[in-house]
Subunit: 199 residues, 4 copies
DNA sequence: AATGAATGAGCTTTCATTCAT
DNA sequence: CATGAATGAAAGCTCATTCAT
């Protein structure tokens, strides 16, 4: 920890503190303490509390995205990619649960610049998911009638299940949870016969 | 508006202000102004900002639940119930978008009592969903292998799609969105043939 | 209690509440409740909190003075008068202890009008005491070299002993306490022989 | 003034403001202004208004006690000690009149912790006085039949005379006042002949 | 005359931000 | 660069006072 450069130390401290206490209850002084730097030093690297929050969010989100996307790209088939996506998401949530809050929760500030950034970042993720689903549909690997909505549904399901994983003490069986979630997302809740019947 | 009793006026103002600005950025004075009452009057009816928030959340959540559950119970078949659920949720989000935030977003406060209440309320909703799915499975209307997880997935998908509906200006076609979401939830994303292949 | 007229009920309630909680911690609402009248009613009889305090002080002080002076006047000799004075003071403190605070304590308010009144009233008492001592000296009953100062000393001693009586649970033996105090005031602390030696 | 460290400046400002206006009418902002520091700075050094008040009281009381006790201990005989005590008390009251209020007045706060502290401090002083009188009695320097009560009487007389000294503009002749007070305390008000008669 | 719901001025306290060292 | 003492704007809450009923 103390062998990292100050900027990173502050960033990591910010992740912990913001995640634990939320934006408004986090105090710059606490973050400085956690980072083992002076309070003024925080302002050497970040213009304001808001900027620190955004920087920390970017940092965290990038780590999350890199972790997930890399795992996805390492797989060849659509099925495997989806499996990797879900599993990595849940894995990540369990391991660095704090970030989950940031990725999934919204904190609104007066001028809305934070809010805007979070929404943007989510939107990017969503677009990526949409493209992924569209491609899979084109290849015939999935049947996605309305990619934008399907992307939302997948993100939502994954997000909430991720939160549950994060909150539970018993987070032992992430792999199984991932598999079950995948089953729901892939096959739905309808009984098989219904499929033919449907419209 | 001004024909309502003061307590309700404050409650409604609180819904608007809290939803627009979040817990910490909402000022009691603003809420009082919005309700067209004096600042002190707020404290005649609610002990503290926190109590007002909880009261407002309860009030909103109850309205939401009543609206949704009543629609669900009015239907006979599982299919129809599910359709009603999704449609009502989205409808509600579009119409009284502010509440969506409260139902879907988490705000952490110092002592955690608010947070706890919100989590509790969510949990109740989740349990209801679980029971609904379990029953439907028992009746053979749905095929739900792991109700707790399925409930989470459905809630998550619905929640996020609801948020999207809420944020979009073009919220014209809620019915269609509902139908599409339902299709994803019921039949999943897998191509029909995959089902037999699975496992 | 409830058979008294409202003004008196408020006054008596004010005595209790002000004495128990001090000027600033006493709330008009509490006084109203204690008096079993509406909050607004207090303002029918007294212009403001400050005026109520002054009125209540006057009322209490008058009761105190009447009680004490009457007892003093009932006696014939200086000795007996002094004895009555001290005993009545302590008696009064024990029985209606709350008033003691008001008579002995000062609470300063911004504009100082309260303060001024209290000082005035004390001053009157002091002047009375001075005159009493001067007269006694003239009659040869006491030997008071400097009446103004002696008056202060007597009042001070009596006041503080009164407060002690008021604070102690064991206030059983007021008569004895009075006698002891009187002995100190009359004969001083010097050993008898010293008197001749002095100066 | 401005050459003192901030903590002391705040403490001294607090003495002045609290003494002039009482606890409740004193505003932290005023104290900050008087100390020529920012409002927030007060809270850097003292947790709350109440803590500031207690700290200031301790500070003042210690100065008072040191001043008086040192003078007392410097003297050899009981007579001289008593003289020093009375004179110093009055001297102190005249010079730093504000403190007198704190030492002699009681201010009640809601939770009573302040009150308790003040009572404690007074009690300590009282006990000291009691011991002093008891010892003097043992040595045959004074004749104190009931030390606890005599202590109260002395403290009361001294306190009230001190207040008078403090309030008077004409405080010229403290030495004379002290001597007169001492005379009353030592020899009492009774005419010499009465002593033999007594009991 | 009596009431109590309504009010808002005013106060304590917090904490992001600055800046002299 | 690094620091933390100093700052003051901002917000929650209290309660004396008013006034419509």
């Amino acid at each position: 920890m103390s062998d990292l450069d100050k900027r990173t130390r502050i960033l990591l401290a910010a992740v912990r503190i913001f995640a634990r206490q939320g934006y408004h209850n986090a105090k710059i002084e606490e973050i400085a303490q956690e980072a083992e730097v002076g309070k003024g030093t925080v302002y050497e690297y970040f213009t304001s509390k808001q900027h620190l929050f955004v920087a920390m969010s970017k940092y965290s989100f990038d780590r999350y995205r890199d972790f997930v996307l890399q795992a996805v790209e390492a797989e060849a088939t659509t099925q495997a990619k989806l499996t990797a996506l879900v599993r990595c998401h849940l894995e990540f949530m369990r391991e660095t649960s704090q970030l989950g809050c940031i990725i999934h929760r919204e904190e609104v500030d007066t001028d809305g610049s934070l809010h805007k950034w979070i929404l943007q970042e989510r939107h990017k993720m969503l677009v990526w998911m949409e493209d992924f689903l569209r491609e899979a549909d084109a290849k015939g690997d999935l049947r996605v009638e309305h990619p934008p909505l399907a992307a939302l549904a997948v993100m939502g399901a994954m997000g909430v299940v991720g939160m549950a994983v994060m909150h539970k003490e018993d987070t032992s069986n992430v792999a199984e949870t991932a598999e079950r979630l995948l089953a729901v997302l892939l096959h739905g809740l309808a009984v098989p016969e219904n499929r033919e019947v449907k419209k």
